[in-house]
């Protein structure tokens, strides 16, 4: 059961299904820049940080005004 709980992206699963439908399936372009696992997590967290910063700033600003 827990073996099934994986962080494998849907992309891989979709690719498998597409290959089943069309055995010749091959993405015709791959990303120019693909971050390694750790860098990927870091960039994801940067994305969260940007969003959280904006949300926190606005809520803090409104809190201060009221």
């Amino acid at each position: 059961m827990f073996a099934l709980l994986s962080w494998l992206g849907l992309d891989e699963i979709i690719e498998d299904i597409l290959k089943e439908i069309d055995p010749d399936f091959q993405p015709w372009l791959s990303p120019l820049f693909e971050p390694s696992g750790e860098l990927e997590s870091f960039l994801f967290s940067i994305q969260v940080a940007i969003g959280a910063l904006i949300l926190g700033y606005v809520i803090g600003y409104l809190h201060g005004r009221s």
Partner: protein
């Protein structure tokens, strides 16, 4: 979930770009107009921030896949689908360029599902349930999230039908939907709770500050 780079044939990439472009242009024009108003500016920031945070939350599921919320609920409730399309495009571009999630070729298709068609159904839901704001925001967020994945399934099915027929398209669509449903329904509910919490917090504060009913219109 976004369709990965190079997954859709060039014709479909072009089609979805052509589909999304008018919404993006209209949305960008609307954002320019909104930026002149201080309150609208604050709300735009909140909507964007929420999409940034939510769309980076990867949640694993029992189907052995991992998926993430869309976070478009607040944007669509406040501004409608056109502006949501632009805000989604910003996040999708970030993820396509820096994270290799989604892609430049499939950007049009991903904007169409996450930024336009999903939010469109959410917009209708919000309008219909508007009498009770919390219920409306909750339902709209959940609908935005789920319908985004329904659209993604259909986009993949149109490009890769099991057989070259209408039934073939349906067959592939159902296959993808079955996988997405497992992950996306719980995610949609979590997302909807968060959207209501953030929305209520911001709106009630904003009303306190400006002493007006911000979102009665």
């Amino acid at each position: 979930m976004h369709i990965a780079e190079g997954f859709l044939q060039p014709e479909w990439c072009l089609f979805w770009y052509a589909f999304s472009a008018p919404f993006l242009i209209y949305g960008a024009m609307k954002i320019r107009a909104k930026m002149r108003n201080r309150t609208e500016k604050i709300l735009l920031a909140v909507a964007t921030g929420f999409i940034f945070v939510l769309s980076a939350m990867k949640i694993p599921s029992v189907t052995g896949s991992c998926s993430h919320p869309t976070g478009t609920g607040i944007a669509v409730v406040l501004f409608g689908p056109a502006i949501t399309a632009v805000l989604s495009a910003i996040v999708l571009l970030y993820q396509a360029l820096l994270l290799a999630h989604g892609g430049i070729t499939t950007l049009g298709a991903n904007v169409a599902s996450m930024g336009i068609i999903g939010p469109f159904f959410a917009w209708i839901t919000y309008r219909a349930l508007k009498k009770n704001r919390r219920v409306a925001v909750f339902s709209a967020s959940a609908v935005a999230s789920i319908s985004t994945y329904v659209v993604t399934s259909i986009q993949l099915a149109l490009a890769f039908p099991a057989t070259q027929s209408f039934e073939g398209v349906i067959e592939t669509a159902i296959r993808f939907l079955a996988i997405f449903a497992f992950t996306q329904i719980p995610i949609a509910l979590i997302e909807a709770f968060l959207a209501v919490a953030v929305f209520e917090q911001v709106i009630s504060k904003l009303e306190e500050v400006s002493k007006v009913d911000v979102r009665s219109s």
